[in-house]
């Protein structure tokens, strides 16, 4: 990266000011720096939390500023915002591998920034939500044992998400994707380090592992998809894409499809369908679509700010963002699969959300449902609608989660809605924010969610009404989404009515005041296995009694207000369509058109997905009137009726539904199924392997050791007998020599004389006789 600081920038760009480039680079790097500082200095960093929040605020400011420039540019033709080469298909790229290793084959592996409309908006969303979460956490996590590390972790997570949004190639996208997965693991498991808190302690460690493992399945599929798109040699074109950049991938897919069609095939080549399905697998994992949705409800074991940021606004949206980036490469078959999965998930999650009693669980299921909406929208061809809903959903869902956090905090960590009630007078700000965002999610006009949901239903109707588009899946999707919207309105208002209206049903114990999250005693849930949370006890976390709930501090309130404001306004400002409700022109719609999203393949995309004016009007009418007249009112009225007027009715209904209700409330027993079908066999295999390792491998090692010992014994015996024997023999020879020689040294003169004479005799004999 030192390259980037020098004058010589081997960067392919031209004209876009280096200042803006540096600003965009600073956006993810500021939280990264915050993380590094906090983790290296730990407690010695003064006001670490405020410093990191401030840093995040600076990043947010930059992103918002740049986003405003983008929005303004979209409304005024000729405003030089996007670099020319961005329209021509290049962002800024730095061929890092090629320059580092001087390796010809790596010419196409680059790293760079792609700042297009979608990226601009997403960046601002992430920046705002991250900043609000930082601010909120200062109040919410006050007193936590690992307070500073929490801030460091969410800063690092922000870095990962911002990097993901900015990256111009799928490889680095994937790298940041994985980093986010790991940060999700760390953050969900934040309470797992606290053995004093038995409920969260065990649940958090289990949930973090579950989240990581489940998204991992999706990540593997995504990686296969990426590599297929990178390296598969198209049979018609005779070459592979050999580049990770989005713009190159789009251009290549257009060429491949057109070559395929020119050669007589219809539709997309098969390999692209397969690769597209694998890529969608990543979304299924990360965005908690059926069947990989199981981790999201358990991810509520993490602190509420984590739930807000990661599992409502940003990380789960990354899967949808992936769909947006890879949209040109999905064949119609893939889009059918996408639609089906998304619609099913939306409906299925909404049904479960109706039965949940835990405040955060309701929101978790609602998140899954809304993600299903987004995914289905993209599948139906309305990529703009899906991205728009992603944007608005980020704001209002984050606000909902943070408000829920405020409520839980005020109720002394009571999360069961049956123990709440009447809180609107005690927590007015929280109530206001939550009400605004609930109205948004229910799709009430003027609120942001209405516009985005309207666009989604419009896409659905357009897909039905298109002359050649009347496929069963479109009908199914539109019907499912509409039904899910009704249910969404219903259970969200159910939540509001249970929490804020009526009388407070929690325990009131004087004396407890102002404590953190981790100085709890036993919750009475010790023997509760939290891998699967059953419906008998509502599967909720119980707090303990405390004084009457009171409103939150200024930091939390500020964050809530900012997000609620955006939850209201993010739909249709600053367009003049404010008063023209029937013909809204949401800013997003003109910002993120098919042309501006995929500039180098815009003609091809328009040809595939553009709908005619006539169809659009008809679809809009049906969607609009359906939303206004049926969906929102039906849901809200049903909730009001059941939870405000006839409060005995819900119990009777659930009793009447009996086993149906039981199944839905137990999340269709999917968790049990996964445990039996996937987890148990894996553990059994692990046990078997362990047994093999112990018996066979260790046995073999021990055998080797025993053989060694045996050999050692032989060697020792050999050494003792032979070697020592030789040495002893030598000594014996010396001794014998000495003993013999000693006989000569008798000290007796006559014997010496005898020897002398004998020797002389022998000498004489030899001399004379020889």
């Amino acid at each position: 990266m030192a390259f980037l600081l020098t004058q010589e920038l081997p960067v392919e760009h031209g004209g876009f000011g280096g200042f803006e480039y540096a600003l965009l680079l600073a956006v993810p790097l500021i939280p990264l720096l915050g993380y590094a500082l906090q983790m290296s200095l730990r407690k010695k960093l003064p006001w670490g939390d405020k410093l990191l929040t401030l840093g995040m605020g600076v990043s947010m400011a930059i992103t918002v500023f740049m986003a405003f420039k983008a929005i303004a540019a979209s409304h005024h033709e000729g405003f030089q915002f996007f670099h020319e080469s961005a329209r021509a298909g290049h962002g800024w790229s730095f061929k890092w591998l090629y320059h580092a290793l001087d390796w010809d084959a790596a010419k196409n592996i680059s790293v760079g920034i792609l700042y297009d409309p979608l990226g601009a908006v997403m960046l601002a969303v992430v920046g705002i939500v991250a900043f609000c979460v930082h601010l909120f956490s200062q109040g919410y996590m006050h007193g936590d044992k690992r307070y500073n590390i929490f801030f460091a972790n969410i800063s690092l997570f922000s870095f990962a998400m911002l990097g993901l949004v900015l990256s111009d190639n799928i490889l680095f996208f994937f790298i940041f994707w994985e980093l986010m997965g790991f940060m999700s693991y760390s953050l969900i498991g934040h309470f797992s380090h606290d053995p004093d808190n038995p409920y969260f302690h065990r649940w958090a460690s289990w949930a973090s592992k579950k989240a990581f493992m489940t998204t991992r399945v999706g990540d593997v599929l995504l990686l296969i998809g990426i590599l297929m798109f990178f390296g598969w040699t198209d049979p018609e074109l005779g070459r592979s894409c050999a580049s990770f950049r989005f713009t190159d991938l789009w251009a290549f897919s257009q060429e491949a499809v057109q070559a395929h069609q020119a050669a007589g095939g219809v539709g997309f080549p098969t390999w692209m369908t397969v690769a597209g399905l694998f890529t969608f697998g990543g979304t299924v994992g990360k965005s908690a679509q059926f069947p990989l949705h199981i981790w999201l409800p358990d991810a509520m074991a993490g602190p509420t700010p984590v739930s807000a940021m990661i599992h409502a606004a940003t990380m789960v949206a990354a899967g949808v963002f992936l769909l947006g980036r890879m949209f040109p490469m999905f064949s119609p078959e893939v889009l059918i699969v996408v639609t089906a999965v998304g619609a099913t998930t939306a409906l299925f999650a909404a049904t479960i959300g109706m039965t949940a009693w835990d405040l955060k669980a309701v929101l978790a299921w609602s998140t899954i449902s809304q993600l299903g909406f987004m995914v289905a929208a993209v599948g139906l061809g309305g990529v703009t609608a899906g991205m728009f809903h992603m944007t608005t959903h980020a704001f209002f869902k984050a606000c909902l989660f943070l408000s829920a956090g405020a409520v839980i905090h005020a109720c002394h960590h009571e999360q069961d809605m049956r123990k709440m009630g009447g809180l609107r007078k005690r927590l007015p700000i929280t109530f206001a924010c939550m009400l605004i965002c609930t109205l948004a999610i229910a799709g009430v006009p003027f609120f942001s969610g209405f516009y985005s949901k309207d666009m989604i239903l419009l896409s659905g109707w357009a897909a039905i009404l298109e002359p050649d588009g009347f496929t069963g899946w479109s009908v199914y999707a539109t019907a499912a989404l509409s039904l899910a919207a009704i249910l969404t309105a219903f259970y969200m208002f159910r939540m509001v009515f249970l929490t804020f209206f009526g009388t407070y049903k929690g325990e009131i114990v004087e004396g407890h005041h102002g404590h953190g999250h981790d100085d709890h005693g036993d919750h009475g849930h010790d023997d509760h296995h939290h891998e699967i949370v059953h419906a008998e006890d509502g599967g909720v976390a119980h707090g303990h009694g405390g004084p009457m709930p009171k409103e939150v501090g200024w930091q939390m309130a500020t964050a809530l207000v900012i997000l609620a404001f955006l939850g209201f306004f993010a739909g249709d400002f600053p367009s003049l369509g404010w008063f023209n409700i029937y013909h809204p022109h949401p800013w997003f719609e003109s910002l993120a058109t098919l042309e501006s999203l995929y500039p180098n393949v815009s003609g091809w995309m328009v040809e595939r997905f553009e709908v005619s004016e006539h169809v659009e009007h008809m679809a809009h009418a049906r969607a609009f009137w359906g939303s206004v007249l049926v969906i929102a009112p039906a849901g809200i009225l049903a909730a009001w009726f059941l939870y405000m007027r006839r409060k005995d009715l819900p119990a009777k209904i659930t009793g009447a539904l009996g086993i149906v209700y039981e199944t839905v409330a137990n999340r269709y027993y999917i968790d049990e199924f996964v445990k039996a079908a996937v987890i148990a066999p894996t553990f059994a295999l692990a046990k078997l392997l362990k047994l093999i390792d112990e018996k066979i491998v260790d046995g073999f090692v021990l055998l080797v050791g025993a053989v060694n010992r045996l050999l050692g014994g032989f060697m020792a015996a050999f050494d003792r007998v032979v070697v020592d024997g030789i040495v002893n023999a030598v000594g014996l020879v010396s001794q014998t020599f000495g003993a013999v020689s000693r006989l000569l040294q008798t000290g007796r003169v006559q014997q010496y004389a005898a020897f002398a004479f004998g020797g002389g005799l022998l000498a004489a004999a030899w001399l004379i006789l020889s």
């Binding site: 006559q750 014997q751 005898a754 004479f757 004998g758 005799l761 004489a764 004999a765 004379i768 006789l769």
Partner: protein
């Protein structure tokens, strides 16, 4: 009792051998031969007796017989001066010294049993003889004359000749002088070595040195 029998047997054998030698001498060379045999028997008999005798005194006198026999042999070899010198010095000096030694040391009963090196001694002695025999057998004994026949220069008798030789500058005067020095040194050395130490003088337990001879 068997001891005396052995003694007598031995002496008998010795006498017989002597007589045989005399007879052989007479047979081969007449009176000169007898003389030679007599003196040879005296020499060798004395030597055997010296070894054989149990008493040291008797051995000493046997040695005297040996010296006398050798003197006789010298005479037979026309070395009269040498014979006289032999008698004077050996018998008169050396033998006396030996007798002094005998007197100054305790009596030794002389065990008959063969000492440990008896075998070695036999080997050495036998070996010597055997070597000599081999050498003798291989030598060419060209003798000039029989004994008793003078040869060479008779101008001087042996004594004169020896004396002139002692003083002759081309002869043995240096050796003569050196011999004198050696004798002096030996005299001094003998006196020094044999002196009584002070310790012996102070505490003198007369350990039976004068045990007398039997």
């Amino acid at each position: 009792m068997s001891e005396t029998l052995l003694q007598r047997a031995f002496y008998g054998v010795l006498g017989l051998v002597t007589l045989a030698a005399l007879g052989w001498g007479a047979a081969t060379a007449g009176p000169a031969g007898v003389a030679f045999a007599l003196f040879a028997a005296l020499t060798l008999g004395g030597g055997v007796m010296c070894i054989w005798e149990r008493s040291v005194v008797r051995s000493a006198f046997a040695l005297m017989a040996t010296f006398c026999g050798i003197a006789g042999l010298f005479i037979l070899l026309e070395s009269d001066f040498l014979a006289m010198a032999q008698l004077l010095i050996y018998v008169g000096g050396i033998l006396v010294l030996i007798l002094f030694g005998v007197m100054l040391t305790p009596p030794d009963l002389g065990e008959r049993s063969l000492p440990r090196i008896g075998l070695g001694a036999a080997f050495v002695g036998g070996g010597t003889l055997w070597i000599a025999a081999k050498v003798a057998a291989s030598a060419n004994w060209a003798t000039d004359s029989a004994p008793g026949e003078p040869t060479g220069n008779e101008a001087f008798s042996t004594a004169e000749r020896v004396g002139v030789g002692f003083l002759d500058a081309n002869g043995y005067v240096v050796a003569f002088e050196l011999a004198a020095v050696v004798l002096t040194v030996a005299l001094v050395a003998a006196v020094y070595i044999a002196r009584r130490k002070r310790a012996d003088l102070v505490a003198e337990p007369e350990s039976g040195t004068m045990g007398g001879s039997r």
